[in-house]
Symmetry: C2
Subunit: 382 residues, 2 copies
């Protein structure tokens, strides 16, 4: 185990009815007025917005609202919301929605306390020195954003889908109620499963050493996602399955499976960001296309690790069988495994490669992920 | 999964050389003068004390010291240290040692900010409203105290070995350097293994429901402890084994394996506390005597769970074989499995039962753990 620091101060409130206490949770921090960020108007139709507003009112917390955050959230919306936060003098931010809403809100929370361009944080030009306190009710279990300090936003103009992180944007309180996730479409359920598996495998395969204990935690997360996804596809009302899916999602990217390891990277995310920056595909869908291809390419660097994956996750006897089993499982649950599934033709590979080369620099992966390597992986993914 | 709240703000600094930065970690919190608590003079002989003092000095942190904390820490020492903390006007507490030193320090941190008798916290008469910031360098991986907010202290006069907990006494920073744990005696290594397994199995067996994901985390912790203990008995210098042992110990009682479960209890600890309150046996040694006996008695309440334990931990086919395998393993590594091993005769059972009945009330277990039940378990343990 390599040296590490671990710090995660997020207060998790997990379970039924927790969203009705959001006002209490916020008021405890002395916050008087929040910017309430959300995505589509769905939360107004299904009653969640009303519950939130009622709880805020009950606890003396005012709010201004800003909807319209999209999947693969964009910088223009973040700028709009930062202006609203500043002009409305809010002293907190409340995100109600999925990872896109929360990542936008982390960016807004930091940007609202910064005089410069918040994109500076994403390109390494500056780092946040202050941020508004942040709270969330996460309605989709996928990104793990509810228990980490990272955010991903797309700069539409430059086609850069980059990230920043800062302990200042750990949510103070995250509400995770699996019942609020029930109405998720089948597509988004399976894209989420793909995202969570990607969070698990990036470190699992790329780290330079692998503590046994951490490997076991990762395998527990992956096998739980596989099992609960299959249950939920048949029975979306199964609360236990929904709850374990959600908690596995949170644990896949809250730092607990990234302790004691070094030199890991996120190449699957790096490549996927390039695809969704260009074509706006769902993040999880892009990942299920990239992962089997990347694994095929990466396998020879650490065949033993892939053999372990095959055995522990799928009960298979070889690295190749394990990779095939994952790809087959993605197809079985209905998330794409080929670039072709996005109605892209072969010329897209050049486009994606160009954008990926730039993302590779930002992700610190330019030495390994050269034009040739990227083309090879994308051809395998085609 | 039952509803839950999870909050753990401890900053972990794990690995080689981390103790040399303790002064920095403390100074970052604005602390100017600490009460340095420790156990035996060992840390003065092996150089750790000097490293700590040097780091404090380098970072402008003064200190007063108080040694002599014993295993199964006692209230009289806590009172002495609280007086010293108050009279020396410290604004922080630094524990350097094992769980006994840290638990004492949690109590001191809270007691130094309380005008009443700190034992009030242990008997439910009051709860802490304030506490000095607390820091630690944990030199023995067993109790998990470095990443939780609980403390156990024995009131020597009343023979009560009770606990209190408060988020105010979460350490701000815990340093875990496996290299500092190398010189632990073989006895304390195996007692630690027993303690960590007890932390794992209390909830694993007694909770009213068992999320699959959490069961897998617990099994990962237990199998890691078993494997690394065996390695360390042969090769105490194996850093990787020492590190994974330590991190499994931390995870066994930092709350991550107690989320989503209800109605669990700590009967093994309850009974063990009674034994060590009377006879001052090592905590882990008492636990390895209690556990197989308790499991034998408890088994019929949830035979399926014990079958799972047998299979997942030892590859055995029945509940009974699993319990025997654990007892055999304890004997193999050299931690006691019979009350007789403490040179106690059969009359001790009456004494222990009397004290255990009182502890049962404090632990909320008096309905289940009656005189008859306790005698049955202790006879099985004899």
């Amino acid at each position: 185990m390599q040296n590490f620091s671990f710090y995660n101060p997020v207060q998790i409130e997990f379970g039924k009815d927790k969203e009705n206490h959001i006002g209490e949770y916020i008021a405890k921090f002395g916050v008087k007025k929040v910017l309430l960020m959300y995505g589509s108007e769905r939360i107004k139709k299904d009653g969640l917005f009303d519950k939130v507003v009622a709880s805020l009112a009950k606890n003396g917390v005012e709010f201004v609202q800003c909807g319209g955050v999209v999947s693969n959230p964009v910088l223009s919306k973040v700028y709009e919301a930062i202006n609203l936060a500043k002009s409305s003098n809010v002293d907190g931010v409340l995100a109600v929605g999925g990872g896109s809403v929360l990542d936008s809100s982390k960016t807004i929370a930091a940007g609202a306390r910064y005089d410069g361009d918040v994109w500076d944080f994403f390109i390494g030009k500056a780092s946040p020195k202050d941020a508004l306190p942040l709270f969330d009710i996460i309605t989709l279990a996928a990104t793990g954003s509810e228990m980490n300090d990272g955010a991903v936003v797309t700069n539409e103009q430059t086609k850069q889908k980059y990230a920043f992180s800062s302990p200042l944007v750990f949510p103070k309180v995250s509400v995770i109620n699996p019942e609020l996730m029930k109405s998720i479409s089948k597509d988004y359920l399976v894209y989420s499963a793909s995202d969570i598996i990607a969070h698990s495998i990036e470190g699992y395969f790329t780290a330079s050493s692998h503590p046994e204990l951490i490997s076991k935690y990762i395998e527990a997360n992956i096998t739980t996602i596989i099992k609960t996804t299959e249950i939920l596809l048949k029975n979306p009302d199964d609360y236990e399955a929904r709850a374990e899916f959600a908690w596995a999602a949170t644990n896949a990217l809250n730092g607990t499976t990234y302790v004691g390891v070094e030199n890991f990277s996120y190449p699957n995310h790096m490549i996927e960001h390039s695809i969704s920056a260009l074509y706006n595909v769902a993040h999880g869908a892009g990942l299920s296309v990239v992962m089997p291809a990347w694994m095929q390419w990466y396998k020879s660097k650490n065949e033993a690790r892939f053999s372990r994956f095959a055995k522990e996750i799928f009960g298979k006897n070889s690295a190749d069988e394990g990779i095939k089993a994952l790809k087959d499982w993605f197809e079985k649950i209905g998330t794409p495994t080929k670039l072709r599934d996005f109605n892209l033709n072969k010329s897209s590979i050049d486009e994606i490669t160009k954008v990926a080369l730039e993302h590779a620099k930002a992700f610190g992966l330019a030495d390994i992920y050269t034009k040739e390597v990227l083309e090879e992986i994308l051809n395998l993914a085609y």
